[in-house]
Amino acid sequence: MKLVIAIIRETQLDEVREALIEAEIRRITVTRVSGHGKSADEEIYRGKKVVPGLIPRVRLEIALNDEYVDVTVNTIINTVKAQYGPGGTGKSGDGKIFILPLEECIRISTEERGPEGI
């Protein structure tokens, strides 16, 4: 079992969610987060370009059995980079994906544990 954590742009959340549902990955948790990486997103306030210190992003957490990890990761990467066209190179700010080993998973309602619980 793995826990996939993906940090992506807020504006791409819908696309990624729809693509994941298309790929049969339906159980996800989404939170708003702030942070900074290499990207510097410009916004406009009253005609002045500003670069916020911390940049808003969304974080997807997806608990998966091992065989689903590749399809999930590929779906997220392809969807985020779809905006650059086929074969286009991404840009800093596209986000990151972390994959962590997942020790245990329990579904509260049935108390199923391990791979069945996911």
Partner: protein, 444 residues
């Protein structure tokens, strides 16, 4: 596409300077400071409805579209005001041209001829003009609820400008100008005290047509599209109620008995709309919702808008009930039919306006009927007045629908009306304004 029209701009300015040089003499009327004071307050109250509407609509959309939706109302404040001052007032309240299609008086161009004009009601014409201008702002802003979350901002701006010129101004002229043909229909005119046909039916019907033409939002109706902030919607609904006293009681263009009658009818209809909606919802869904009570308030207010001058409190009470029942049914039918009138511009404003404009006939106070009978030279029955009301409503519906279809096609051809799927997923705020509404929810 628009570039080739740029050569016309110098001629527009030339026209402006020629018109400005015309000076108009004051007529003999005295200023009545009481009426003027109330009309100034009413003018401000009606303007307050526009930010109210922005909050009402803004709270109902998804987080990513909150600013884009509020911008629809705020952009109308800018665009429609300038258009109103430039040509709108002349088109609405000038004498008939083109067989009465709209009015025109070149002295009203940029209001240049009314600098020292005082109306018979004792109000400076500037005040009347500004008061009426607020109606021209809120009407196209109401339409935006029907196609919320899925239109390009610049196309919206072009659309409301053209809609104001082609739909609002002629309708306003027909119903409220002294030589408008609906103003003179029947014995004592079609009754539209404060804009049931001009404002609510025209906006509601145009919204319905636009929603059908543009299609549903991406993912509708499967995807859940929850309101981002119902608290803001409630505040907006409250501001609308407060502003509506200017809208209705101000439409008496007086400060006296007729003002008091309109104000009372407004309060009663809003309250009866609110409790009716709560009862219907509690019976049908098991719970009275916050969005439900503001919807009921609005339905009652919309229905009493054409009627405020002619109904007594019991009539206003009945109209509030009918409005909530019919609007609730309309929303059920909408859900059944599956078209995406996102914020129910037609369901509340269209249906509420039609219900009010037609059913008010059965609650007209006797003094009005007596006056109509005298004007008709003997007798005038409520059935004859009903015919007049139905005719006015039908004309408003057909005219708004046909012109809206034409404008939608034109705007779509010129610059594309519908957002791209990419922009729609990203959200209007980011796509068209490069801002986000709730920065404070994230540490930054």
């Amino acid at each position: 596409m628009l570039a080739k029209y740029r050569v016309l701009i110098p001629f527009l300015f030339l026209f402006l300077f020629v018109s400005v040089s015309t000076v108009f003499a004051a007529d003999g009327s005295e200023i009545d400071s009481g009426v003027t004071a109330w009309m100034l307050v009413s003018t401000a109250l009606v303007l307050l409805m526009v930010p109210g509407l922005a909050m009402f609509y803004g709270g109902l959309v998804r987080t990513k579209n909150v600013l884009g939706t509020m911008m629809h109302s705020y952009a109308a404040m800018g665009i429609m005001t300038i258009l109103w001052v430039a040509v709108g007032y002349a088109m609405c309240f000038g004498p008939n041209v083109f067989g009465g299609w709209f009015g025109w008086n070149s002295d009203y161009f940029f209001l240049s001829g009314i600098d020292d004009s005082i109306l018979d009601a004792g109000v400076p014409e500037y005040v009347f003009s500004m008061f009426q201008g607020k109606f021209a702002i809120i009407t196209p802003a109401l339409i935006a609820g029907a196609f919320a979350e899925r239109v390009k901002f610049k196309s919206y701006c072009l659309f409301i400008a053209l809609w104001g010129l082609l739909v609002y101004n002629p309708l306003c002229h027909w119903v409220w100008a002294e030589d408008g043909f609906l103003f003179n229909l029947g014995a004592n005119g079609a009754i539209d005290f404060a804009g049931g046909t001009v404002v609510h039916i025209s906006a509601g019907v145009s919204g319905l047509i636009a929603a059908l033409y543009l299609g549903a939002r991406r993912g509708f109706p499967v995807t859940n599209m929850p309101p981002n902030n119902l608290v803001m919607t409630m505040i907006g609904g409250g501001l609308l109620w407060v502003g509506w006293f200017g809208f209705n009681a101000g439409s008496s263009v007086a400060s006296g008995l007729s003002t008091a009658q309109a104000l009372t009818a407004t309060q009663v209809a809003a309250a009866s709309g609110a409790i009716s909606w709560m009862i219907i919802e509690a019976w049908h869904q098991g719970k009275a919702t916050a969005l439900g009570i503001v919807s009921g308030i609005l339905a009652g207010l919309v229905a009493v808008t054409p009627a405020a001058g002619v109904v007594q409190p019991i009539g206003a009470f009945a109209l509030g009930i009918f409005a909530s029942v019919f609007c609730y049914l309309a929303i059920l039918v909408k859900n059944r039919m599956g078209y995406d009138d996102s914020l129910d511009a037609f369901g509340i404003h269209g249906i509420g306006g039609i219900v009010g404009a037609i059913l008010l006939t059965f609650f007209i106070r006797e003094s009005w009927m007596a006056e109509a009978a005298a004007l008709a030279g003997g007798s005038w029955s409520i059935w004859q007045q009903l015919g007049v009301q139905v005719a006015a409503v039908t004309i408003a519906i057909l005219y708004a629908a046909v012109c809206t279809v034409i404008l939608l096609v034109v705007v779509n051809k010129l610059m594309g009306f519908r957002s791209t799927p990419q922009e729609e997923m990203q959200g209007l705020d980011s796509a068209y304004h490069s801002e986000h509404g709730y920065g404070m929810l994230n540490p930054n």
